[in-house]
Subunit: 209 residues, 2 copies
C-alpha cells in the first residue's frame, strides 16, 4: 500500500485572533456546536491520553459527557488501565479530531474523580444493559473468552433491579490548564491558537504550524 | 448542550480470536484497507501521544506514511514540541479511530529517527509549497502573527529551487511492543484483542471492555 502520496489540502476555514473567543470554553462550545451541525459521526468522542503504569503514553476514545467551568467530564471503570494510570498521575491530555471540519482541539489538564452523586446520577441515566456491562466487566483485565463475559452479563441481568453503581465505576472531571485550537490550512500553513492559564487569566498565542 | 444522552449502539462488526491474524501487522493492514474501502475521511490520520517536557501526556494528529516490519513512519519537525518530547522520552502511543467502522487501533512503541535518506526521499516527494512551509515554520514556537509566517513563506518561495530538506525536519519510525484492536459492540460489551511481544513472539489476549 502506497501511503506517501496521500494528502489533502485543507481549505475549509480559518482561525484568527480577531474572531476567536477570549474564553477557551466558549471557543470549545462553538466548535463542538459546529461539529454537531456538520454531522460528524461521533462529535463527543475524544481521546484521553494518560501515562500508563509501564511509562508509555497511551490514548483511547471516551465520550465527553459534560463540560463547564469546572472542567470536562467522562466516565469509566476506575480499575481500568486508564483509571490506574490517572490514579498514579492525574495529568491527562484530551484530544478532539474532526477531519470533516479539518479541526483539532487539544486540552491539557488535571483529572479528578467526580463526586459520587454525579457518578450515581449518570450511571442510572444509562440504558440498563450498559449498566450491567459496567458492573460485570473488570475493564482492561485479561479474560479467557467472550463467552465468559456474556455469561456474567446474563447472570447479572437475571438479578433484581434497580442496578446500583459499583464503587469501581464513575467519572473524572478534567480541569484544563492549556487549550490548543487547530484549523488545517493550505500548504500545511495551519492555524494554531493556544490558551495558557496564568494567574487565573487565559493568555492567547499563535504557534507556528 | 445536553451531552449525557448521546450514545449509539455499536453493531457493525465482531472481532474474535478465530478470525484475527496471528501477525498484528497483517491485522493492521487488513483494517487499514477496510478503512480505505469505507471511505473514512482521513484513513492514514493517527494521533501520536508522547510525554511533553512539562510532564503532560499529549497527542496530536499526524499522517502515517509507511508501515512494515520495521515499524510505523511519520514525518515532522524535530524541534516541535512533539520532537522535543520524543528526544527526551521515545516511548509513544499511536492511535487510529475510525468511528464509521466503530474501530480503534492502539499501538505502544519506541520512536527513533529515520535515516537521512528516507527523510530526504519523502521530503522531495512532497509538493513544493509544503516543502517551503516545512523550511520556514519553526513548529510549535510562538509567532507574532500569521502575516509574519506568510511573509517568510513568500520570501522562501522566491529563492532558487530545488529546496533542500532542513536538518530539523524528518521522520520517526515507531517500533511496536503492543497492539490493541478494538471493535465496538452492543451494550458496551466491546471486543478488545491485544498483541504483546515476548521473546520475539506476539502473544494474543482478550481484554474485558
Amino acid at each position: 500500500m502506497k501511503l506517501q502520496s496521500i494528502r489533502k489540502e485543507y481549505k475549509l476555514s480559518v482561525l484568527d485572533e480577531s474572531s476567536i473567543s477570549k474564553n477557551p470554553l466558549k471557543q470549545f462550545e462553538e466548535w463542538l456546536n459546529e461539529s454537531f451541525k456538520a454531522k460528524v459521526p461521533e462529535p463527543t468522542a475524544m481521546s484521553v491520553a494518560s501515562i500508563g503504569l509501564n511509562g508509555f503514553p497511551e490514548s483511547r476514545i471516551v465520550l465527553l459527557k459534560d463540560f463547564n467551568r469546572d472542567g470536562f467530564t467522562f466516565f469509566t471503570n476506575y480499575n481500568s488501565n486508564k483509571g490506574k494510570s490517572i490514579a498514579k498521575n492525574p495529568s491527562v491530555g484530551l484530544h478532539f479530531f474532526w477531519p470533516e471540519l479539518e479541526r483539532q482541539i487539544r486540552i491539557s489538564g488535571i483529572a479528578e474523580k467526580t463526586p459520587d452523586e454525579i457518578s450515581d446520577k449518570y450511571f442510572i441515566s444509562r440504558p440498563e444493559l450498559s449498566q450491567i456491562a459496567a458492573i460485570v466487566s473488570n475493564q482492561s483485565s485479561k479474560i479467557k473468552s467472550r463467552e465468559k463475559l456474556t455469561k456474567l452479563f446474563d447472570e447479572e441481568k437475571s438479578k433484581l433491579k434497580p442496578f446500583k453503581r459499583p464503587d469501581y465505576w464513575g467519572g473524572y472531571v478534567v480541569k484544563p490548564i492549556r487549550y490548543e485550537f487547530w484549523q488545517g490550512r493550505e500548504n500545511r500553513l495551519h492555524d494554531r491558537i493556544i490558551y495558557e492559564k496564568e494567574n487565573g487569566n487565559w493568555n492567547i498565542s499563535r504557534l507556528a504550524p
